[in-house]
Symmetry: C2
Subunit: 366 residues, 2 copies
């Protein structure tokens, strides 16, 4: 395969292994897997989940729900707080699929019902410690108010509770991740108990890649919604959720300039390709990506890590010490593991597999 410009490589074997791994883990744990498709945003990768028996998914916007509904997904959870302004698109979508919306306030739901014409399923988002969105896990009056409103409205069905323990991203070891998982699950189970008499079918849904990667016990939980683990990335490796070998995407970037006097190599590959999330390495270095050696079978870790130290719109600036820098030539194509796979995949809008197949995804965020 000839790589001549920034290209997001997808190692299909690694990706399918990641998919199989989580699917089997969920089956063994007797928990339903509803993978989050915001990471790959692609019909093709979605179909790989379908091949192993997955028939429902999670998305992060109504637009993304519409994209996957067009490919036949008919049970879709939008794990983003209900935006009632999108009621027209919600009505259109709920005609063609089972649409599960995420509720964080009764006000938004009341507004929605003013123009709602189709049946929808409501999950109340519970804040189990991340403090981004959701009703606080102990705020029973607020939860009661939402549950009551759902119960009285003919177009609304109460589906249960949903949480996203995103504070797991601050973890730096398996034990820290597990602690967050167990605390979060305990809070969800307490809420579940409180409402299960009235709603015997209610479901508890949790999910983020760190906890789903590390935990094996999902007792009392009905559903998990991890997304990133389809690809993984450097952030997940730092958190302790994956190894380098599990990372299934790498950007191919041509070398366009070399400055040995300041130990810098410039590649074509910048903020428009990677987006701009970064990590601080142990010694305080800022890292926007890590260089790997592209091979005919994919990519290999170098003996010593080489980092992307900064990104401008189209330029990537690598910090390359001697003697490594002497081995690099203009026109070489380097692989770079992304810090945040979801944003990189979103920025690129397509993938190329190791055998050269182009895999399309949603493009443009408007």
């Amino acid at each position: 395969m000839k790589l001549v410009r920034p290209t997001l490589l997808l190692d299909e074997v690694k990706c399918k292994k990641n998919i199989r791994h989580i699917t089997e883990k969920a089956r063994k744990a007797h928990v339903k897997l509803r993978p989050h498709f915001k990471t790959h945003q692609s019909h093709v990768v979605g179909a790989w989940f379908r091949e192993v028996g997955i028939n429902s998914c999670t998305v992060s916007s109504i637009k993304m729900a519409a994209y996957f509904a067009r490919d036949g997904w008919d049970d879709i959870t939008v794990a983003f707080p209900l935006n009632y302004l999108e009621v027209e698109e919600i009505n259109r979508l709920a005609k063609v699929c089972k649409l599960n919306l995420c509720i964080v306030s009764v006000d938004a739901l009341k507004k929605l019902t003013e123009k709602l014409t189709q049946s929808i399923h409501c999950q109340i988002e519970i804040d189990t410690g991340y403090h981004r969105t959701g009703v606080d896990a102990t705020n029973y009056p607020a939860i009661d108010e939402i549950v009551s409103f759902i119960s009285t409205h003919p177009l609304l069905t109460f589906k249960g509770f949903l949480s996203h323990a995103g504070h797991s991203y601050a973890a730096r070891s398996s034990s820290e991740i597990l602690k967050i998982h167990m605390d979060s699950v305990a809070l969800m189970k307490t809420i579940g108990e409180r409402y299960r008499n009235r709603f015997p079918k209610l479901e508890l849904s949790v999910g983020d890649t760190p906890t789903c990667s590390v935990a094996t016990d999902f007792g009392g939980i009905d559903e998990v919604r991890p997304g990133n683990l389809v690809f993984y990335d450097l952030m997940q490796r730092v958190i302790g959720a994956c190894t380098s070998e599990q990372i299934a995407i790498a950007m191919a970037c041509p070398v366009v300039a070399i400055y040995p006097e300041r130990n810098e190599v410039i590649v074509h590959g910048g903020g428009v390709h990677f987006s701009k999330d970064f990590l601080k390495t142990e010694d305080g270095t800022i890292c926007f990506g890590e260089v790997v050696k592209l091979t005919s079978q994919g990519w290999e870790q170098p003996a010593r890590p080489v980092y992307v130290k900064s990104l401008s719109q189209e330029h990537g600036i690598l910090a390359v010490p001697a003697p490594e820098i002497q081995k690099i030539k203009i026109g070489d194509v380097l692989g770079i593991l992304p810090v945040h796979a979801c944003l990189t995949a979103d920025a690129m809008g397509e993938y190329v597999t190791l055998d050269g197949k182009v895999i399309e995804a949603m493009t443009g965020s408007a």
Copy 2:
């Protein structure tokens, strides 16, 4: 106009005023304006430059050059170091337009000529202090070597020297910007003098938005290539290159959750919409955007600034103190000025004008 989801608003009046302003300034200064189109990446906005007499442009990739060539632009400078791996696309493009490539090393140019079939114009990029790419301004042997190679090859025409004083982005006042401009221009003129006897038609091209916004004296310079000033953004305001009133784009973001107990408002508008460049405000606060009030005529600055404190993939988290937070309701649509217009425009892939026209742009970075 009904705004229901994250939408990148473009104030056509402000944008055209920015375009007129730089066009008139360039005319008065007797310097050619070759605007950088990487900021807007849109045929429509490009056409607004054409309407005021601009007939050549700058781009940051061969892919972007091809996009604008398809709209009839026939004199295009690619202000990114030559990537000779793209020779096939370069040959195709150079058939339909005057293609000016940016050379930072003789090696890349030699490699290019092995498969080059069309005439191209070469500009040597000079590093005047930014230290990203380019030949050091005093490295005459390297410059001589490139000039000699160009002179001997029948398909190559030497067009002159190009620089990008990107270190102006570290400035925080007009006087700092002007100092960088004068130093950079002085280095370029010295190089120009050295080669003008042999190449009487050589051109000196400089350009970045801060220096082009603040400087009025471009004596001895032939061409300027600013890009960002078509829209401007918070970064440029902090640098001292524009005022808030000149910023011509704002993201419309629906409010989906409000947490008065922690002074936070959550909007739909995240990293996939804004990208993730941020600023540190004077008191050390991180800022991913600044809230404005949307009106029927566009937007207005609030009395007290309200910042976007963090972004996840689809969520924007605003820090909103009391009493402002009491005035915000779920379903309100807030305007947010972006930190870095170029990356935000690239992430969105389209604009909507204040009267509801959709303006398309290039989408996907693959």
